[in-house]
Chain length 482, copies 2
């Protein structure tokens, strides 16, 4: 898990760019300067600069050196915070979600509406090679034992990662699940009864809304800033006004906004919820996909009362299709274990064994670094294309991790109409309608940039921008002739 | 999937024994007779007789020939039908189930209370060898597609088996799930709302009761005969008296009774339910483990209105721990698919691919035959031991498939007390308390005989019988001195 020297140096430069100590157009230190000041070899410097180039942060000018990219300039405006209605809402979104997602499932569609990154990003072949030997090492008797908690070795590996990150989690808290989706659902069931009120972000991940709908729960939306996540004042107000039984939040790289709550906000949020004795269901499936220097801690890191149920999985960052997730569920762990026993019994053992084997061999960190790098570079490309092709007035987020952009189009554009037009061009998007119980984000959309190497990507973004411009013009025309 | 000649001959003799055309103590045809009358070779006859000996049906007497075993004689009485209370009940059984099952999980306990057969019965190594190559053949892009319905190849294989058995099922009806447990739960969710009434057998599988409890449903029990299953008169009465929203039944080798509904009863039941427009959730996880000549058809075979949701899995008969089940859900298939998308998204792909590969290679039938044979022989052994060691007045079922026996002990024996005493001797049992919402089977227990080759089995049954006898004597003594 230790970084190579060139990686460390590249990370430092990357951080200087991120914090704007080095600005677009600035020249990086020359190889000679870098060698002298850092006592590293020329090849180390070159490798670092190649890496930064791969990440889309710098570019070389022949016989001149490396310069910080102007990629994100002309900087487009970021979307502002949207203030949700203060009432609780009965959730009825599933039909729309199924309609939209169902239409975007074909392999010949550019997957900008997908919820998953591209398959080429994952060591699928390496994982497959772990399957047979890992299963043959397994004591056969364990196959018919009750494995509800999950494979102990895998739970230890997961516990170890919490430890390294500095988040205090007991082994007994960790329950392996069928992906994060099951973990989140079980957590929700563990702390609610039909009719209860659950606080969610605004906009929020449609699966959270679907889970609420399925369990006959009511949603109350909390204002969520596209950059800094859950607004604490809004949350405090919601907690006072409504009998909130649980919060379902995503502090790290929220879906769809990509927002990242500052550490201090996470801590304040956990303390606020603790004062109200309200459990937090923390969806942290994107936490490992950060572009900064270190993994942002989960809210769970600040949990003192066992009220935070931290949920994550390997599905987005290592092994899609293996369906292995988990929750570190604090005081609710044994309830969740029982709910799991009653609903799916246990999680597939081959998947658990392969992941346990893979993690033990220690190549996960290296894979994650490559993944982050690929995604960061791809985000830069996406932002550049959006700046070039989308209509004036388009606002776009600049997440510091994950693989989603959230676009706010001029208000006259209907994202559902855009979705239908795009689909006829074999392009999928996720219209804003999917991300709120009251469909307030009708002119917004979520774009997945997590398919590097997909040749259709650039063309798809260009087409999408043109379609959005067309819709703007039509709306203007209609207004003029009205 | 074709039988060898000696297997066919053994099956025929086995059927003569089962139907009592050949009775205990009868001599089998001599090798010479058999060769002449059947036009088969002596080695075929010998192989057939060895097979029957392995199944516990016959024994050799030196220099005399093969004789039908007197195993089941002195025949113990079978339990009679228990008449349930006519009211619906709020289900509150989970705590007890968790207590009992939780205490029986250790590897050093003789697993007579287990819900699973022994690991040695399964081709686990063969399945493991399918994992890596099957996954490497997979188009990586399918890993991140929505695979909610399940792998198409696997669904085709499952559909093919329905076809061969003569049960009409459309491919589009089949949804792959995380074991039968998830299938059953999703079916229940698809057709009920909290507070609804669901009809179950009496006694019934505790997981059904737990599912009802979790979903806040009310149970009404239908009288169920230990040999022939659901009593149709009782069912008709229940349907008239209560607003039943669904039935959860196990027509083939019911857990815990082992009862098998005759084909004509299944048909009559499906027609009765169709007249009331009541969906049937059919749990058929033991259907492949028959000891007769052919697989008993599921109730689904008689479904004309798409009201039967047939649920099964590979967990009990091929691949425990792989967590692959399915439902053929008739008119409810797309609702179930959506519920699945919202709760666990999809089923682990490595497990699905390995099973698909295994089924395609055509060795499943051979495995099943060996499994059935091992279980039939083991049942004979168990019945013999129970006859020898259990107190007078013990009644026991003689199921024609599966791996459970249901014992009715003299009424003064408390099975929960027996469970605690047995556990102190490292023996687990499943006390009757687990199998009814109103705990009416307090002197009954379910015994798992599905661990052939477990050296502890004989000693455990002997100890258990002695403990039961002890409880009988204590009760008699207490009565006498009272």
């Amino acid at each position: 898990m230790t970084l190579k020297r060139y990686e460390r140096y590249a990370d430092e430069i990357g951080e200087l760019i991120r914090t704007q100590a080095l600005r677009p157009g600035d020249r990086l230190p020359s190889v000679r300067q870098a060698c002298a000041s850092r006592r590293i070899s020329p090849s180390t410097v070159f490798e670092a600069y190649y890496l930064l180039e791969g990440r889309g942060l710098v570019h070389a000018r022949p016989r001149s050196g490396y310069y910080v990219n102007a990629l994100r300039l002309p900087a487009q405006a970021e979307p502002g915070i949207a203030i949700p209605v203060p009432q609780t809402t009965r959730v009825e979104i599933s039909e729309l979600v199924f309609d939209v997602l169902g239409s975007t499932r074909q392999l010949d569609v550019a997957p900008l509406g997908s919820a998953f990154p591209g398959a080429a990003l994952f060591p699928l072949d390496r994982l497959a090679r772990s399957l047979t030997p890992a299963m043959r090492r397994l004591d056969a008797r364990r196959m018919v034992q009750d494995l509800t908690l999950g494979d102990e070795q895998l739970r230890r590996q997961i516990g170890l990662r919490y430890g390294v990150e500095g988040t205090g989690v007991e082994l007994a808290e960790i329950v392996i699940t069928n992906g994060a989706m099951e973990a989140l659902n079980l957590c929700l069931q563990a702390v609610t009864q039909p009719g209860d009120v659950v606080a969610v972000e605004s906009p929020t991940f449609y699966a959270a809304l679907q889970a609420l709908e399925r369990l006959n729960l009511r949603a109350v939306e909390v204002a969520t800033h596209p950059r800094s996540g859950v607004d604490l004042a809004s949350l405090a107000e919601v907690l006072q006004r409504h009998p909130v039984k649980a919060c379902w939040f995503m502090p790290n790289f929220q879906n769809p906004l990509g927002s990242l709550m500052p550490d201090s906000s996470k801590q304040a949020m956990v303390e606020l919820l603790a004062r109200h004795e309200v459990p937090l269901i923390e969806d942290d499936v994107y936490g490992e996909m950060y572009f900064g220097l270190r993994r942002p801690p989960p809210a769970k890191a600040y949990d003192r009362k066992g009220l935070v149920m931290h949920c994550s999985s390997f599905s987005k960052c290592l092994a899609p299709g293996y369906r292995v997730g988990w929750t570190a569920a604090g005081r609710f762990a044994s309830d969740i274990q029982r709910l799991k026993l009653m609903s799916t019994l246990s999680t597939a053992i081959p998947s658990q064994m392969a992941l346990s084997d893979y993690l033990e061999r220690g190549s996960y960190e290296r894979h994650l670094r490559q993944l982050r790098q690929a995604l960061a570079g791809q985000q830069a490309l996406a932002l550049r294309l959006i700046a070039r092709h989308f209509p004036d007035g388009t606002r776009v987020t600049r997440p510091e991790g994950g693989y989603f952009l959230w676009l706010e189009l001029p208000p006259q554009v209907d994202a559902l109409q855009l979705h239908r037009m795009a689909l006829s061009q074999r392009i999928s998007i996720a219209p804003g309608h999917l991300f709120s119980a009251d469909r307030r984000f009708a002119h917004c959309l979520r774009l997945n940039y997590g398919h590097p190497g997909d040749a259709r990507f650039e063309a798809a973004l260009k087409t999408l921008g043109e379609l959005a411009s067309l819709l703007c013009k039509e709306a203007a025309h209609a207004q003029a002739s009205a």
